[in-house]
Amino acid sequence: MIGARNIRRRIGGLDDISLDVPAGACTAIIGPNGAGKSTLLDVLAGRSRADSGAIAFGNRPIADWPALELARLRAFLPQSLEVAFPIRVLDLVMLGRSPHHGLASAREDRAAVETALRLTDAWHLRDRSYQRISGGERQRVQLARVIAQIWRPADRDGEPRMLLLDEPTASLDPGHRLAVMRLLRDLTLAGIGVVIALHDLNDAARFADRVVLLHRGRIVSAGGPEAAMQPEVLSSAYGAEAQVIRMADAAPVIVFR
């Protein structure tokens, strides 16, 4: 769905990255701080340009997409969640519907917003001021915004959609963290491609279909969770001894010592 070929970017330090992220699957990008995870997500989303190399979204170079058309098919959840002025949660999520202006009916927009807020367990916050809810609640509300952005009625066909998220679970409690990871997996079942930068390797092992390990701007390993997360590569990338404990009927557990 998104294909990257020989991507280099000096700012953010991406070095010769080639990567395919499919629709309908969850791809986790892991790696130590400063490895280039956020930059890679930005470039894949078409928010930053690569110095060299090519990015394709679907069958077109990403730069050739009209901005609005692309915005209806790919959404991006950044790490920073600041909003300039006091705003009601419902209005904030409605901002996600901007690219559908003039195309979707008001009812469809409202349905998208309600669905997204319910999926992220934030519907009860809808009339609260965004500035007065907690960090974890903000993260769920912003997640609802990006889901609303690419939402379309289940009975309508269209081109595959992509959701790119930069550490969406960073400030969530364990219950909501698992709920969000399950939600992302459910979205892949609906055909949406999910690309997620993660620090929690256990979540990556458990929920991702594919894991990409970045280190100093290069892909060190990529593949299924077990194949991509071998103790040796993890140890050398993170600078701490990693142990991968295999479980009989569950995802492996990764422990650092």
Binding site: R72, A84, M94
Partner: protein, 351 residues
């Protein structure tokens, strides 16, 4: 989809904007009538109506109403609207509730050009006398535009206008402009100094149908331009890059907004001098009342800006009648404490 993305989200009763905007519209009409009625010579509502409809009314009163008070009141509405809409746009653009049009240097540039003209104007012998009346506004307008373009140029990086750099460049360039004005006041004689001072404090005393025919259409065009870009300003609340990710053409919107605000405020300042505070206070108050969605916010701020300026100007004409106080003194003196009270009273909403 309905007109405004944000307004469409309402599911809990009527939107505050649906109440506040009609109230503000009524308020402008009331303030307008008040401004025409009050003055050294009081005028009744009946006399205003008679003058407007061609009924029987004293000839001198008719002249005061039609040639002095009405154009002046309309001028106050237009200038207030353009300052407030410009302030709203700048606050949205800079994502900062304290931003106003002075930040992009338009007032400073206009003031420097006006000061130049006041002090050195006598030596501009190439300008025919009959054009001198309009030469100063034109100089002020050009001065404002030039400074804005310089600041915008300084903030260009790889074809993008960097908003944070623009803020800092604006502060630096404004300092240079202020130094220039200081130098001119140092060089100027007492009468020129007084004129510069009055100009820096603003006044609607120079109003009339002539200036109004320049300010009115520009003000309308600028408010409409800002309204056309309201949805981009909504998106900008999330940040420039998020607005871009939502599919908005942020670069074009930024340039259009800066040029529109510079042209609008430049024109207003050229005829009235520098009028502070309306551009910050009006958007702020309306945002408190109806929330941050820019389409209703721009309309409400423009209306409130007009009302505030009308009331301030009426006070200016009354307090020391038959003389007039510079309007900047009134807008600051009344605006600042009111603004502070609002800030302290609603502190929790600024979190």
């Amino acid at each position: 989809m309905t007109e405004s993305t944000l307004a469409a989200a309402g599911d809990s009763g009527p939107q505050p904007a649906a109440i506040v905007l009609p109230l503000l519209a009524l308020g402008s009409v009331a303030a307008f009538l008040l401004a025409v009625a009050l003055g050294p010579i009081p005028i009744t509502l009946g006399e205003i109506l008679a003058a407007l409809t061609g009924g029987t009314v004293d000839a001198m009163l008719r002249d005061i109403i039609l040639d002095l008070r009405i154009p002046r009141a309309l001028m106050a509405l237009c200038v207030g609207a353009v300052l407030a809409a410009g302030g709203t746009a700048m606050q949205g653009l800079f994502r900062n509730p304290l931003a106003d049009p002075t930040l992009i240097g338009v007032s400073g540039g206009a003031a420097l050009a006006a000061a130049c003209f006041i002090v050195l104007g006598a030596s501009f012998t190439f300008i025919p006398d009959e054009l001198k009346l309009y030469a100063m506004p034109v100089a002020a307008f050009l001065g404002g535009m030039i400074v804005v373009l310089v600041i915008q140029r300084l903030a260009q990086r790889d074809g993008r206008t960097d908003i944070a750099t623009m803020l800092l460049a604006g502060i630096a360039v404004n300092a240079v402009v202020m130094a220039g004005i200081g130098l001119l006041t140092f060089v100027g004689n007492d009468a020129q100094l007084r004129t510069i001072n009055f100009w820096m404090l603003g006044s609607l005393g120079g109003s009339g149908w002539g200036p109004l025919s320049a300010v009115g259409p520009v003000a309308a065009a600028v408010v409409l331009a800002c309204l056309a870009l309201a949805r981009v300003l909504d998106g900008m609340m999330l940040g420039e890059r998020e607005a871009q990710t939502l599919g908005f053409n942020v670069e074009t919107a930024k340039r259009l907004l800066i040029v529109a605000v510079a042209a609008g405020v430049g024109t207003a300042v050229a005829f009235t001098g520098v009028i502070v505070f309306v551009g910050i206070v009006a958007p702020h108050m309306v945002r408190l009342a109806i929330g941050p969605a820019h389409r209703p916010l721009l309309i409400g701020a423009a209306l409130l800006g007009g009302i505030l300026l009308l009331l301030a100007d009426t006070l200016c004409r009354l307090i020391v009648a038959p003389a007039e106080l510079p309007i900047g003194i009134v807008t600051s003196l009344l605006g600042a404490p009111f603004f502070l009270a609002l800030l302290l009273g609603r502190r929790e909403r600024f979190l």
